[in-house]
Amino acid sequence: MIKVGNEQINSDFIDQVQKLKQTDLSKCWHCNACGSGCPFAEDMDYLPNAIIRMIQLGLKESALSTSTIWLCVGCNTCSMGCPNGVDIAAIMDVLRQIAIDEKIEIAEPGILSFHNAVVDSIGRHGRTHKLEIMMRYKLSEKDLFSDIDLGLKMLSKRKLDLLPSKVKDKNGVQSLFKMAGIK
């Protein structure tokens, strides 16, 4: 059994990631072009290339329990800047999804709650209903007041619609959720 620090190495992890996103992670030579361009790097617990290093080393648990994978918004600045064409933003998508599927403790539960609120809203209406998403997210975080002034201002400017814009064929949307293994 090989360990790095206290963590047992999972040598299948790199294949698991590479299979989900067709990519060759051995191409990353840790030049840190991704981290130096990332607008969120200063708030991350590990730089993007450190996450790639964890995958290369088989440190699955470490990689999946970082804040970094949740703070990444997929703006693609890193993927565009990588001299070797490693699609780092897409790797982050894959890591989040493995963390959810394998019930790893999520480092940023609030961000996941927000994503779930958005996906639920799409399930209900086929489109996103921003007011509902914000209300449900604030409720799930038990934080109803931090943005109340902003919410009221947006309502008064009609930036937030009270009623959702909806898809007519609700079953058509629901069937896509079933296909994706939700519900």
Partner: protein, 291 residues
């Protein structure tokens, strides 16, 4: 060589333009209508599968995007205004074109034949064609030297698998200058606005937005012009009151140049009131009381 402009296109507005950014949608439609380009919404379109969905469920993101591709009329190009929607739909199209197996799965599901050659066109691509065709030649000097900071957000950033796609960098500058505005050079034109972290981690989004605003002010701009409705919203809601400039959707400034005025229905939806600036630059609008 410029392509002949299509006069009838199908149109994918996306959730933002249909709701929070109605002024973006209205100004875009009104602008294109003036040039005789008729847009018909993709019937019963749904969310493109952007940010949150592809962050946590790639299969669902592909399914949502695929439904839109299957709903779009095959004989027309599909115009997309939102850079996020454009990327998701293009990405889904690429994924389906690369895999016969996936195509068959969705063909069976939607009971329809897949059209691999459906043309997806971003608003910027259409604008570039329109500009090349000389359609804006009569609009010189319309914007009276308005100093604008062109803000593309992350629309210019594409994943490696899509790096052969057209880049529209420079288009805002080129068109704004041809309409008589003065595009300023600055360091933040493609810096991410923070997207959904604006709700789930507002401190981070605020920091990014205030840096962008500060950058535009320091560079001597009078306003920011955006390519993306989500960026527009974030810039307006997360900037500090002592560090802000009016923010226009690109389509709004195009319409102001064209019509010589902006309907108050658009301007009153702005959280940062742009009317004082339009006044200073003698650009007319339907007057609104200042906040």
């Amino acid at each position: 060589m410029t392509r002949e402009l299509e006069k009838e296109m199908s149109y994918f507005p996306g959730c933002s333009l249909a709701t929070t950014a109605k002024e973006n949608n209205a100004s875009l439609n009104s602008f294109l209508h003036h040039f005789g380009i008729k847009l018909t919404e993709v019937p019963d379109w749904n969310c493109c599968g952007s940010s949150s969905t592809h962050s946590i469920n790639s299969k669902l993101a592909l399914g949502l995007a695929a439904r839109n591709l299957f709903l779009a009329p095959k004989d027309k190009s599909m115009l997309i205004a939102c850079p996020g929607c454009f990327l998701r739909l293009k990405h889904a199209r690429m994924e389906l074109n690369e895999s016969k197996e996936k195509q068959h799965v969705f063909e069976d599901h939607f009971e329809k034949e897949y059209e691999p050659n459906l043309r997806l066109i971003h608003f910027f691509e259409l604008l570039a064609d329109m500009g090349d065709s000389g359609l804006f030649n009569h609009l010189t000097n319309r914007l009276n030297g308005l100093k604008v900071a062109p803000y593309y957000g992350c629309m210019l950033e594409r994943p490696p698998s899509m790096n052969k796609e057209k880049s529209h960098y420079g288009l805002i500058e080129k068109i704004m200058a041809s309409l008589g505005a003065e595009p300023i050079r600055w360091a933040f034109s493609n810096r991410c606005c923070g997207t959904f972290l604006s709700v789930s981690r507002p401190k981070i989004a605020s920091k990014l937005v205030n840096r962008i605003m500060h950058g535009a002010i320091q560079a001597g701009s009078e306003c920011i012009v955006t390519a993306c409705a989500m960026c527009h919203l974030n810039l307006e809601i997360r900037c500090k009151s002592d560090n802000q400039l009016p923010v226009f959707h690109f389509s709004e400034l195009l319409s102001i140049a064209l019509e010589g005025k902006a309907p108050k229905e658009w301007l009153k939806r702005h959280l940062i009131n742009p009317t004082q600036l339009l006044d200073q630059r003698q650009l007319s609008y339907h007057r609104l009381p200042l906040n």
